[in-house]
Each structure stands twice: as C-alpha cells, then as structure tokens.
Amino acid sequence: MLPFLARRLLYAVPTLFAVSVIAFVIIQLPPGDYLTTLMADWAAQGGAVESGMVEAMRERYGLDQPIYVQYFKWMSGILLQGDFGMSFEYGRPVSELIWSRLGFSFLLAFLTLLFAWAIAVPIGILSAVRQYSVADYIATFIAFVFLALPNFVLALGMMYVMSAYFGQSVGGLFSAEYVDAPWSLARLWDFLKHVWLPVFAIGTGSLAALIRIMRANLLDELRKPYVTTARAKGLDEFRLLMRYPVRIALNPLISALGWILPAAVSMEILVSVVMSLPTTGPLLLRALLAQDMYLAGSLILLISVLTIIGTLISDILLALTDPRIRLQ
C-alpha cells in the first residue's frame, strides 16, 4: 500500500505543475499585460495612478522580465504567501474573493456525487439483475435522456416549472434572510431546501453515466464463474449478489470518480451561472468576460488542483477496496 501511495503522489506532482502552467498561460492569453489593463481601468474610473505604485507592482509580478520569471514569481507568491495576485475588477486580492466560493463549489460537487452514487447503484443493480425487464428499459431510457439534456437547460427548465407551476422562486443557496447569517439549524434547513435543485440539475449527467457503468459491469460480473461457486456453497441469492458481483462491480464505479468529479465540477459551474449560486461559476464567468485574468487564472488553477486531489483520493479509495491494485 505504501509504495502504491508514494507512486501515486509522485505522479501527481508533474500533473500539478502542468496545471499551473496551463492556468498561467490562460492568464497571459489576452493581449496586453495585467498592469496596462489595470491602469486603463483606473484611468477610466478617473482615478489617478501613483507612478511609484505601478513600479512596485511591476516589480512584484516581474512584468518586465522574461515569461518564466513571471511564472516563477506568480507561483512562489501562491505557494509561499498564499498570494494569488490582485483582482482589478474588485480591487481586492484574489485570495479574499475565492475561498468561500470554492468551498461551496466543492460542497456542491461532493453532494452531487453522493446523490448520483446513491441513486445510480440501486438502479444499476436493478437494471442488471432484471435485464430486459420493463424497469431496465425505463432506467436505460431515462439515463439516455439525462445524458442528452444539457445540465443548464435542465436547471432552467426546473426553475421555470417551479416558478410557473409551484409559484416558488428558486435560485441561490439560501433565502435572503439567511445569506449572511451564521450557521444554525435553521440556516442548514434553508440550505437543504435550496440545494436539492442544483444538486439534481448538476447530477443527472453523472447519474446516467454511473447507471450505465454499474449495469454493464454488473452484467459482466454476474456471468463470472465465482457467482456459480458462491451459489454452490448454498448462499442465498440476495446475499450472494451483494457480497460478490455487486462488491466487485463497485470498483470500476470508484475509479469512475476520476472523471465524474471533473465533469461534476464543470457542470456545477454552468448550473451555478444559471441559478446564480454563490460558487466559483459566476465569479469565473464574470472574471473571464471582464478579462480579470489573475482572478480567472487562480480560479481555474484551484478548481483543477482540487479536482486532481479528488482524483487522487478516488485512486486511493480504489486501492483500499481492490486488493489486486494494492498488491500488484
């Protein structure tokens, strides 16, 4: 287990490095450097810019130096001081803007995965065990429709139905009175009342994919000889199903986390924009549209890094549940 863990962690290092380079490239993509944008912005607002300050910032970000120095300065700022640069649109350090939103983003992604798993596993099992039954056809068809429906369209559609037919305005993660309130049972309840809709809208695609995977894997496993062996021991059908084929068919589902998580994070961004949730999605979109590149780059960097960490965790989970990976 330890060598596996060490190897896996070692693999993550170049990945993290590459992600940081990609984020940096995205920051550099728009024409002109950050300071010119900033000064143009300040000038447009009629503010005077002290020349000393510009010089200080030029120095701080190494803007007059070669590109790799700029990268190095940016990276070391993040790693050593937690300094992600300035957001010119908000006029505040990026680090002040992002953490709570990132928290909500990943809370949503996590809840979505939980939701998708909790629904997909039983439906997948049912679908496989009763292959070609009415239930199987319905589950399969719904899964395909969910795969075809863009999540943000689903979110919009649900919001429309909720407001047109149930007279409820939906959107956000809290009612107005709880947005800035400290956490309490009432606030948690309010949160739960709001969160199910985005979780559903984000999760359907992953849910459908997981149902398909679970069904296909379980169908494969059900044909394996060890099922016959267990049956010949005298095990009853339900315990047999749960203890052997389902147990083994769950492994690919765990490894599917590796790509379901990035997908959920992507979908979360889209749905958040539609439902104006206090997560990274709307912030990232606004930052990109306003070319507030340090904010946008930092968000992309952090979202990617957290996703990679999530993938790493799924790998470790898989190794814990599957001895073949752990021991070979």
């Binding site: 394996k224 000889p225 060890y226 016959t228 062996t229 267990a230 049956r231 010949a232 021991k233 005298g234 095990l235 009853d236 059908e237 052997y244 147990r247 083994i248 492994n251 549940t321 599957d322 001895p323 073949r324 021991l327 070979q328």
Partner: protein, 563 residues
Amino acid sequence: MTRPQPPLLAVRNLQTFFPTRHGTFRAVDDVSFTLERGRTLAIVGESGSGKSVTARSILQIVDHPGRIEGGAIELAREDGTVTDLAKLDPRGREIRAIRGKEIAMIFQEPMSSLSPVHRVGDQIGEAVRLHRKVTRREERDRVLELLRQVEIPDPETAIDRYTFEFSGGMRQRVMIAMALACDPRVLIADEPTTALDVTTQAEILDLIRRLQDSHGMAVIFITHDMGVVAEIADEVLVMFRGKVRESGPVDAIFHAPQDGYTRDLIGSVVKLEQKAGARVRPALPPADQPPLLKVENMSLTFGNGKTAVDDVSLTLREGETLGIVGESGSGKTTMGRCLLRIYDPQQGRAEFRRADGRVEDVLSAGRHGLKSIRREMRMIFQDPVGSLSPRKTVGEIIAEPLKLAGIRGRACEEEVCHLMEQVGLPPAWRERYPHAFSGGQRQRIGIARAISVKPRLIIADEATSALDVSLRSQMLDLMMKLQDEMGLSYIFISHDMSVIRYMCDRVAVMYRGRIVETGETGQVIGAPQAPYTRALLSAIPNPDPRNPRLRARFRHVPEAALA
C-alpha cells in the same frame, strides 16, 4: 451392500433445456445414472456433450436460461429419507441447505471461480458459516484445518491471502478446501484439472483420491480426458450431444465398449498412445549430412528480467519431426517464436541450411535475409480463431503469402484451390469468411497458409491443443501426409506427450527455459534420463484402467509443483 439401501444419488431421466431464439436446446436429454457411497463416477464427453450441465443440474445451478424440464434427482440420507432435488425451488431454502453441505462442487477455472477481492480464509469460512453455527474463532480454526488437509503450505499465512497470490494448483486446493468445509457426502468435480499442467493435475487427482478415502465421499468427476477417467473412475458415463451413449464399470468401458461413439472415443485416445502407423515416407538423409537447423546457446531474457529461453541448443535434420515438450511457462512457445525472430534472442546462433545449401544464421539475419528465410520456415499457430483475420475471406488469407511472394492473378487463384484440396477443404469455400468454419477447419486453413509458399520447415506451436481429441489425430495425420508429400521438417511444440509420441521422431524436453533432455522419442519415453522427464512422464494419466500410472508416480521437485 447386504441390506437393501437406495443409492446415495439416483438421477432418473433428467432433462435440462435451454430455450433459445431458434427453439429449445436440449443440453441434457433423458440422462439417468446412480452414484453409490464412496465411489467415483466419471462423466465423460467432448465439449458440448452436456456433461457439465448434468453436474450443475444436480445442484440446480444451471446458468440462465437453462432449467430442469423433467426427471428426478434423488438424494438418499443416512436416516433413510430421500429428497428429489429436481422438485426443489432453485432459489429456495431446502436446496441451499444441500448445496455445500451435502453435495459440494469444484470447478474448472480456479482463478475465476474464486472471488478476487475476498481473502481465501473468508471464502472458505463462508462455506462453514453458512451451514454451521460457529464463532469467529471456531471458523478460523476450521479453515486452518481444511487448508492443512489440502496440503497448502503455511496455512497461517495463506488464510489471509488473495487468490491471485496463489498458483493454479494452489487455487484448486483452495477450491477443494472450500468444498470440504462441511464434510459433504458427494463431491462434484467439474473438469477440475483441465486448466492445470499434468504434474499439477497428478497432484490434485492424488489429493482428491486421498480425501475421498479419508472422508468416505462419493465423487462425480466431469472430464473430457480419457486418461484421467481410467486413472480415477469406478463407473463411467459417456455422453454425446446431451444423451448418454454408454455407462458401466470403467474396465468394461475401456476394454469392451458397446457403443460406436465410445469405441471411436477410446480408439482416438488409444491411437495417440503409440507412434503413428506405418507411413510411406522418403528416407531420411544420411546421418552425416549437415543438419537443416542447428541452434546453439540461444537465450532470451524479457524486459521484466525473466529468462524465458536459457541456453537452448538443438539440431533438426532434413525431413525430421522434432518435438518440444514442456509445461506452461517452460519457454517452449517463446523458443519457437525466437526461431522465427518474432522475438529477438539476445544470445546464440540458429544456423539454417537454405535450399541452395548455403547456411545462414537466422538470429543475425538482416531484414531481407529474414524475409527470404521466413518463406522457407513457416509457422502454424495454436489458436485457430486468433490466427485468422476475421475480415478476410479464406481465399484471401491463403493467398496472402503467395501474393507477397509475387504470385498473382489466375496462378494464385489456382494455387489457392489446390492448397485447399490438399488440406481437405472444398475449394468452393474460398469465398467464405473464417467465422463460418469450425475449429478443426480453421486449423486446416492455417496449415494451408503455412504450406502455400512451399516451405521446408514448419514450426507448429500447440497446433492441436485447441481441438477435441477425436480431431487431433486427424490433424496430425494431415500434417504427416503433407510432410511425406512435400518433404517437410517440423518442429512440433506441445504440452501433450501423446501427440509428441504419435508424431515426432525425436523430442526435446523443456523445463524452466532449458532443455533438460533430448533423444529419440521412443527412447525418451521408454527410458527417461532426466528427473524432470521422469516426473512428467509418470504424471501423464494412462488411458487403461488395468494399468494406472499415477499411483506409482515419480515426484520430481515437489515444491515446484506446489509453488
């Protein structure tokens, strides 16, 4: 048997059918037999004979959508009660109480028949737990005892291991331990040794026999191997296409078979127990003529550090058939592939005497040299499915080497027809695709492709091992006919001593990458010199119940067989 007692297990007119799109497939059709206490019944037949479905019907574990359509399966108990298993609900409590407790079963593929993610001790323990009230401690003690009974070394460690950490023979021992968990009165063994090497097979057969004696179990042994039947069975049931062709005591089946199919089956096995009959073959060239192929000190080590071929030296004379025999992992296949440079050995020479008398080293030949050598030196593959492209017609497959040799158009077409006739296939079938052919026919196509460019040496890698026994001797006869017609030489790689004996002039025995013994086939088989050869030969079941071989077995490096 003085008092009138019903047989332990009586199967009467059993019918197990599989509904399919094209009607009902009668996998088991009107099968009856009885099994007495402590005896061994062998059910024998070729693939598709329904022997395995019969065995599974007893425990009602036939794969979906098969189901028992009629008949009775009566299990008699010590207290005189009799239960008809065929009447029980396949998912019900009653049949589950019998499975694993009164009747236990072991299967062919010990790897896939055990769960890869549960510890060995857990899987064996489950069988105990299901039928007895035991504490964790008692369960573990029982599992350790069972592991000791099946002679797994170091049971204290083995109990917490996973199946993929064991070898094939050890896995089958684990299966047996699991089956013995509740001291069943009947053990059904469904081809338990088919996936194993002969020396391991001998160990497992030994173990089953000893356990049978000590536990007083009755055994139903499903197999396609007549040698195994002769070694272990008391009674024999011969099946063909779902029906019983003949049943009776083992001696009568082997020495006085009544049914035509049984006679053919025994005949084809016995035929392979000796050298092929008289052949009209061109005289071998005088011994002083330089050999066709001379391999010296060839070695190959793979990237993972495993030495597959270790300092192998061989000679092959013109027109001769050299057998290479060895168990799985002995390096025989790799060695054959090295000779054709599918793999590149790191060391050694392989001097091939060309048609014009020049001698070339195959192992150091350049691209063009190799291309021309490969026209004289061809290969026949083991797997008749994988070795033919599913996307080409048979005509195209056979024509491919011809076209690459520059023969095209009408001449090529005619040659293909001629080749198909030569290997016994109607030339009219050349427009068909491989999927339309049976295994034996596909292997003929493979042979036609190999001989199409008039080679002088053919390396045949397990060319008959994917075929049923009745087809094997036909294929060997075909190869020998071609040898006589075309003056071919063969290097014939096989794990099966009987086909080697039937076919080969000389034989080389491989073990762990090395050649441990070479000699005239008769001599090696009659008076083996190397300890491994003796062990190998004495582990081969003898298809004659009057003269079992395994009981006086020579065991060489038992730890290797156990490892």
